[in-house]
Symmetry: C2
Subunit: 453 residues, 2 copies
């Protein structure tokens, strides 16, 4: 059967890498007090289409036996729209500011292309206030995500792995354009947003087409060139000689965010005034994230502040959030060879040399598990060499041999070193780093350790 394009499925070994990534994200988020929310996979079609021109990407869902009439439900295509609905629906039971993470699959009915999935996992964090949300919420989501990214860089293992969180603020861009006297700042922003793909000369032409004079275009491009790893961007913007109250407000907000984040190793935070996210409805802070060596992925982690994430007839709910595209990142890392030390959770294989000894082997396994050691028992009685090969194929580091006709001792063999030692069955435990499968960075030379014995 052909695999379905756009619907990735992982081998057991790849799934262990995915679990390590997802566990790391959840642990980081919860360490910061962000609790988990899951929303149902479907939303009413009209909720999903409220944002506009995306109906081609939506997967409608209806009972197969009941295909007449318009579809009423569809699979969610992101986690922001369902979360906004959840906040309004549960507003009476939530404590604001409400902080949550949400790690779930989403679906988009796109024509699959390279790196584009129809089913994929996103990891979102958001802070939502009722009527008001203080500025430090923007710092907080950025801080949490930089720590999550730092841990991911450690998992990836390569010494050059590095993430850059790029922060900008819509008010800086819009205020600057208004200060220049430009009539349609949103149109300007959508042109500037193309700087990633289009040369500055071409941008200048596009700006002229929407009525931006040449001097103003020079300043618009000058603003977009400003990238600083600290708050010195403020002076550089001011040196361009444009003034507007909204610009001043945006600069103060952005300086607050960039100056407050304490980035972990392997993560840089920059103020980057190219970042416009012109197609989204952000009203202040905006975020994108680039990964060195994976520039082709574009931004792997984006977000920003919505002044009005949701509203009901009593309140508005301002929010700020960031969303990490887990599947896209993971696919790139797996394609580059990120793998695990073994394909199963088991740290120990208990050998069975004779089916009559299976109960004794089960008892050994039970005792190991009671000490938190993932253990499996050989599925068939077999000779020494076959048991070793069973463990090797799966990457299980230790094989346990109970008493047999040759010896009354319990022994454990480390199949990587070949060392086999007599141990006390009531106390032996593997080194802590062998308890769980380890994520293994791609290596330039073929790995051979699993072939030794």
């Amino acid at each position: 059967m052909a695999k379905l394009s756009g619907f990735p499925e992982y081998t057991p070994r790849e799934r262990i890498v995915e679990q390590a990534v997802l566990d790391h994200l959840r642990t980081t988020f919860e360490l910061h007090g962000f609790g988990s929310v899951e929303t149902r996979a479907v939303e009413p079609v009209e909720v999903l289409l409220r944002k506009g021109e995306i109906d081609k990407e939506v997967y409608a869902v209806r009972r197969l036996a009941d295909e007449s009439g318009d579809a009423e439900l569809a699979l969610h295509f992101d986690l922001t729209v369902p979360f906004a609905r959840y906040v309004v629906e549960n507003a009476n039971e939530l404590d604001f500011p409400f902080r949550r993470h949400q790690i779930q699959k989403v679906w988009r009915g796109e024509r699959p292309q390279q790196g584009r999935f129809r089913e994929f996992t996103q990891a979102d964090i958001d802070v939502v206030g009722r009527d008001v949300l203080p500025a430090h919420a923007d710092v907080e989501v950025a801080q949490v995500m930089t720590e999550a990214l730092g841990g991911l860089m450690d998992l990836v293992g390569s010494p050059t792995a590095h993430a850059t969180l790029q922060v900008a603020n819509r008010k800086v861009l819009e205020g600057f354009y208004l200060g220049l006297g430009l009539a349609d700042p949103t149109a300007v922003m959508q042109v500037v947003d193309k700087l990633d793909k289009v040369s500055p000369e071409k941008i200048r032409v596009m700006l002229a087409e929407i009525g931006v004079d040449d001097d103003s275009a020079t300043k618009v491009l000058g603003l977009a060139e400003i990238v600083t790893p600290d708050t010195s961007f403020v002076q550089r913007v001011e040196a361009l000689g444009v003034e507007h109250p909204m610009l001043a407000e945006g600069l103060a907000e952005l300086a607050h965010v960039v100056g407050s984040i304490v980035a972990p190793e392997r993560v840089t935070v920059t103020a980057d005034l190219r970042i416009a996210r012109g197609l989204d409805y952000y009203t202040g802070t905006v975020f994108e994230t680039r990964l060195s060596g994976y520039e082709q992925l574009g931004s792997i982690c984006s977000g920003g502040r919505y002044e009005r994430l949701a509203a009901d007839n009593r309140s508005t709910y301002p929010g700020v959030g960031i969303s990490l595209g887990v599947s896209r990142l993971l696919a790139a890392l797996l394609a580059d060879g990120l793998t695990t030390s073994r394909s199963v959770p088991s740290a120990v294989l208990v050998a069975v040399s004779d089916e009559a000894d299976r109960r004794a082997a089960d008892d050994v396994a039970r005792a190991l598990r009671s000490r938190g050691i993932p253990t499996e028992v050989a599925p068939a009685a077999a000779k020494f060499g076959k048991q070793i090969r069973h463990a090797e194929r799966r990457g299980i580091p230790f094989v346990w041999f109970g008493p047999d006709e040759r010896s009354t001792a319990h022994t454990v063999k480390d199949i990587r070193s070949g060392d086999q030692v007599e141990i006390d069955p009531t106390t032996w435990t593997p080194p802590v780093e062998d308890l769980r499968p380890q994520v293994v960075a791609p290596s330039p030379t073929p790995r051979t350790e699993e072939k030794n014995s």
Copy 2:
């Protein structure tokens, strides 16, 4: 907006209970060496319909912009059909016997009734062989699931919480009916399967309708009465005086399973010859599970052995598995008041008495997190009492106060006892049981501790 019937969503507090259940299941499965597999949410419609009369329950999925023509994809309605497809598709990369757990949502387009969901979570474990699968695999999946159930009973907390894993074997029933000379053992099994809902007298009438004479009906009902917590069922079956090679084979297999499982506290394993699972395609061992106090749920955890879970042109893949209906069980437990000690992951709230102190509070929080303590910082500067109430509403057990105009010391207040003590900020850590939210059993009297301060 009205909630969608059949699509449950949890409050943050309920979600913590669900996470505790799912984490416990995963930990137990992986301790036994069962790795995780996830399959895509959709399957080709013809794969899902292969089993027969279920097309009314299937949710078709198609691009909203592309509604013409027959639906090609649909949401999976269980995890067995996708797993069988996954095994065949990945057979070259899997090591057999292949052991996996799979914890995912499934969808059924049913008319929602009480306790019936359209979206719900199942937790499956299976062992699959290539061409052969030894009998101890049946023991293994039962052993793993009894341990998972034992841990769930501990989570539920009630002293009367108790699960019973009921084991039978199709060969016992079918062999017994064949030994009686009955022509259509499957039809007999499907009648016996109704013993849960229908009186023995009525079963006798139904058996007569399919041609079972009265003496045979007495024996059929006699067999179904046999329930033993050990292998003594063998003698009781033999005492009915029926003989058949398939019966003898089934009795040996069932005795092996029932005699080998080492049940944890709060779980009983019984041989129960009422269990037929007449509507499924099992070929040997079958399992059901009842929870005391929750008899209305029926079997919360069922499965068995398929001689042919899947096949390709080279091999057949016999399997044995059990599936736990997580959502149905969880909904019942939540409705009975199962809850958690707090609604957020945070163990500590760091108070902020003045916005000027926020950075110092962030530094305290960072240090606590580096020691693995989930911590949040107060969202707004406020007086003592307001900070305490913020923690109380969420159930956060500890509030941290840094130096202020009154004192140079760091202090921590336990909001449950009201004790506030001076601590060393570089080493203090909460008791280990306060690090994570605890699942709290329903209590007959209203809980009041969160109201004290």
